[in-house]
């Protein structure tokens, strides 16, 4: 359209100039939130249709961080996929490692020494503490509490990351679990440090809850917002704290009893309303239970090897077959499905990512709420885009 096509404003409306104010009333506005938006936790995009400030339609768009993880897994050796699983949910590399190792161990029929099982539980529960602490920080950051809760959360997270670094050599990309055990043994000094952290973490949680749980602004922003019914949650395959906040008692640690979890005494916290506040609260209670599990594990950890002596690093070829290994990750059920044809690479490598499947009901949660609530609801779903897009 050239400039000459537009009639000057003083002239009567021509074919190209419409009286806008006539159509303005009652129109819907379509806003693209993301992919470059700090509240979307990465490169996630929501196409939000708004009536005033109320969301009437929400279309999630993802795939901006797609990097062919599953296809690469088919062309890499079984061991070679292990460091890539760190990069799925980069906050929880230890649980990703465990789920993948569990799938391969099912495929090859390897056993894991008891000490390694204990170490896995310790690391998985530390990861749960880390993830839920960060989630609470992010949620508050998303609802407008700039800085303070997130910084407190990161201060504590740093201590757990120091433990990971001392054990595995890396803070976040741990690459620690192996098929048939763990890569390195924990020294007594490390276990003592873990005990100190476990003892102190309850105190931090008390302080954190004092800051947040009773806070009227947080309650106003989260209670009754983004309500998820148990029926919808089960129908959509939601897992993890989101499902439990909706009141469904489903925890793979209890249902499957993988690893040595049946030996441990812990409770599964449930929510009553399924709203954003319940999702926050369930996570805080889960952290308390994690501390409980950590205490038991650090008390009972036996001596012994951490690696199955028959485990092979080079020339690892499991027999043909298929296996699905799943664990209760901090975000939900993280599972790996593998088909082996007896070669050094899997024939098919598939990830069941919790945040991707939990994200599918975003529209149902957000309808009828405002844009600002959408951000808080997204924060409470707890997504990591590295896992959503793979």
């Amino acid at each position: 359209m050239s400039v000459s096509d537009v009639s000057p404003l003083s002239s009567p409306p021509g074919p190209n100039v419409r009286a806008v104010h006539d159509e303005f009333h009652g129109d819907l506005l379509e806003v693209s939130m993301g992919p470059h938006h700090p509240s979307t936790h990465g490169v996630f995009r929501m196409i939000v249709t708004l009536d005033g400030e109320t969301v009437t339609k929400l279309k999630p768009v993802f795939g901006y961080l797609h990097r062919n993880h599953e296809k690469i897994g088919e062309n890499t050796s079984y061991l070679g996929s292990m460091p890539y699983t760190d990069r799925l949910d980069y906050l929880c590399s230890m649980t990703n490692n465990w789920a993948y190792a569990l799938a391969v161990e099912k495929l090859s029929g390897q056993t894991v020494p008891e000490r390694a099982e204990y170490l896995r539980i310790i690391l998985a529960e530390l990861t749960r503490l880390l993830n839920h602490t960060c989630l609470a920080g992010f949620l508050l950051q998303d609802s407008g509490a700039s800085g303070t809760p997130l910084m407190y959360a990161f201060r504590e997270r740093e201590k757990i990351l120091d433990l990971f670094e001392a054990l595995s050599g890396s803070r976040m990309m741990c690459n620690y679990q192996r098929f048939g055990g763990c890569r390195a043994d924990a020294t007594p000094a490390w276990l003592d440090a873990a005990r100190t952290l476990t003892d102190n973490y309850g105190g931090f949680l008390d302080e954190y809850e004092e800051l947040l749980t009773g806070n009227e602004i947080l309650m106003a922003r989260t209670q009754g917002i983004g309500r998820l019914t148990a029926k919808l949650a089960i129908g959509a395959g939601i897992t993890g704290p989101m499902l439990r906040a909706a009141g469904v008692a489903y925890d793979i640690r209890k249902v499957d009893g993988y690893g040595l979890y049946p030996r441990f005494n812990f409770r599964v916290p449930l929510g009553a309303h399924g709203d954003t506040y319940d999702r926050y609260m369930v996570r805080v209670l889960e952290m308390r239970e994690s501390i409980n599990i950590l205490r038991q594990a650090l008390r009972d950890i036996p001596d012994g090897p951490v690696m199955d002596p028959k485990a092979k690093l080079r020339g690892f070829r499991p027999k043909p077959g298929e296996a699905y290994g799943r664990i209760e990750g901090p975000k939900g059920e993280i599972g790996f499905f593998l088909i082996s044809e007896g070669g050094p690479n899997p024939y098919r490598y598939r990830v069941r990512p919790p945040s991707f499947i939990n994200l599918t009901i975003l529209e149902d949660l957000c309808l009828g709420h405002s844009v600002a609530d959408t951000v808080a609801i997204l924060g409470s779903i707890d997504i990591v885009l590295g896992e959503v897009d793979r």
Partner: protein
């Protein structure tokens, strides 16, 4: 009463704010680069090649260019060319050596798999992290001269692991020497039966790789 939770929260914030000026419990920031935290022994970032002597790094590389790490590296950042000739290694044994050994550490993801699969303990993880380069294509492409670092350095950064590796290598060397002596004795003895074909003194004893050792 409405607002109690808010005031409670503000008290927590105030406690933390004031507390960060008194005592070290809440004082957690390290002022890098003036201050540095001590790296844990297990810390890893990029691989380096172990050589026996700092004076002649290229002559004493432990690497025999078997290319296992090149094959196993998940992002495939290692490139090796075998030498055509053989050179005596640190033990005086004739070995193939890497004519080219490049690691593109811009691609490397520090997963340590090369270290775990190496049957000769020739590649280990370094701890140097201040390696920013101004040239994005060649600045982070490390050749074998840049990668070679002496065993003493390995002892400095990973003392426990280096100790284990050294004792294992010493045991292997001892076993190889014994085997060589036995073979030599068998050869010298006037016997009609042919000496066992394997393990003449010149043959590399490390042909049968030891079971891969998990890194300590």
């Amino acid at each position: 009463m409405l607002g109690t939770g808010l005031i409670q929260g503000l008290a927590v914030t105030a406690r933390n704010f004031v507390g960060s000026f008194h005592g070290t419990k809440r004082f957690v920031t390290t002022q890098y680069p003036e201050e540095r935290t001590k790296l844990p022994e297990a810390y890893r970032n990029f691989p380096f090649l172990v050589c026996e002597s700092a004076d002649d790094p290229m002559g004493t590389l432990r690497c025999v260019a078997c290319q296992i790490c090149e094959k196993e590296c998940p992002p495939q950042c290692i490139y090796i060319e075998k030498s055509k000739d053989k050179k005596p290694d640190a033990n005086g044994k004739m070995q193939i050596y890497p004519a080219v050994f490049d690691i593109d550490i811009a691609v490397c993801m520090s997963c340590q798999i090369c270290v775990e699969v190496c049957p000769f303990d020739a590649i280990e993880m370094d701890q140097v992290f201040e390696i920013a380069a101004t040239d994005r294509f060649t600045g982070l492409m490390m050749d074998r001269h840049a990668l070679a670092k002496p065993n003493g350095y390995f002892h400095q950064i990973h003392p426990t692991q280096a100790e284990e590796v050294d004792s294992r290598l010493a045991a292997e060397r001892l076993a190889a020497e014994k085997k060589a002596q036995a073979a030599a004795a068998a050869k010298a003895a006037p016997r009609p039966a042919p000496a066992p074909p394997a393990q003449s003194p010149g043959a590399p004893s490390a042909q049968a790789p030891k079971p891969a050792a998990p890194a300590a």
